[in-house]
Symmetry: C2
Subunit: 164 residues, 2 copies
């Protein structure tokens, strides 16, 4: 898939389930358990409008190029969890991640959200993701050492949405 | 209930459901939605051994004096969430909280846990709780401003369990 082509964002469709799983798998950073969770949340989103999970698909030339999964954080008024922002490995660095992040920000604002929280791993595999979050305006607000497993920290990034 | 009496800790029993709810309510810091969540998690614990929620009761003179709710954090190997540590308002400052925290630490170690994470509010009502966590060895590892609602921050405290 080429650079410069328009990126189209839409609420994920049921028939995009496998392409979304493939995009996640292509990155090489999802564990099998995390991949299962992607499908589990997608099915919840597809089958139950009140699931609390939203999926957005980024398409280039009609093909799934990435996806975002987010939703309101329970027991909060206006916080949203950003579960995954994933670009297919075949189309990295062409603006898909940026387009998805801005779409999520727009949708969260539309729902009255005030902040978006990303909980992510601090291992080397996630360094490019972390740099990306910083470029997109997320602030590093916390770290839990060895959270996922020994040597694998949890990093917390927050984008505070100021009124426009 | 008096000072100096022995505090007995045991896995919560089904017939303690209402006393646990009353203890939570007595503190005055649970919102109605949070109280519902206490019952929801208690019912999951009572009805499903694989729910991932554990409850411990602290009893003094055979009466429920407080409770702890914790459980393994999904997608981690060895992290545990400490959901609530609650002492009935009628018996504050008699060591119930300390006994519950140490019991949770012991149980988490027994299950192979490496760290215990507390996610709590930063409002004034929680200042005594925060001081308590610090005394019990929890480290302040993060803050998300206005997480719960405007002006109500999320504070993250972690107790790292070193090998004994």
């Amino acid at each position: 898939m080429g650079a410069g082509k328009p990126i189209e964002i839409h609420p994920s469709r049921a028939d995009e389930r496998e392409a979304i799983g493939a995009a996640a798998r292509s990155t090489g950073v999802f564990t099998p358990e995390e991949l299962d969770t992607v499908f589990e949340l997608f099915d919840a989103y597809r089958d139950d409008p009140d699931s609390g999970y939203r999926f957005l698909t980024a398409a280039v030339d009609g093909t799934v190029a990435g996806f975002a999964c987010y939703g309101p954080t329970s027991l909060t008024e206006g916080a949203f969890d950003f579960y995954w922002l994933t670009t297919d490995a075949s189309i990295q660095k062409h603006g898909v991640g940026r387009a998805l992040d801005l779409a999520v920000e727009r949708e969260v604002r539309r729902e009255g959200g005030r902040l978006i929280v990303i909980w992510t791993s601090g291992t080397d595999a996630y360094i490019p993701a972390v740099r990306f979050y910083e470029r997109m305006g997320y602030i590093h607000e916390g770290c839990i050492h060895g959270f996922y497993r020994p040597g694998d920290d949890l990093l917390i990034f927050v984008k505070y949405l100021l009124p426009e």
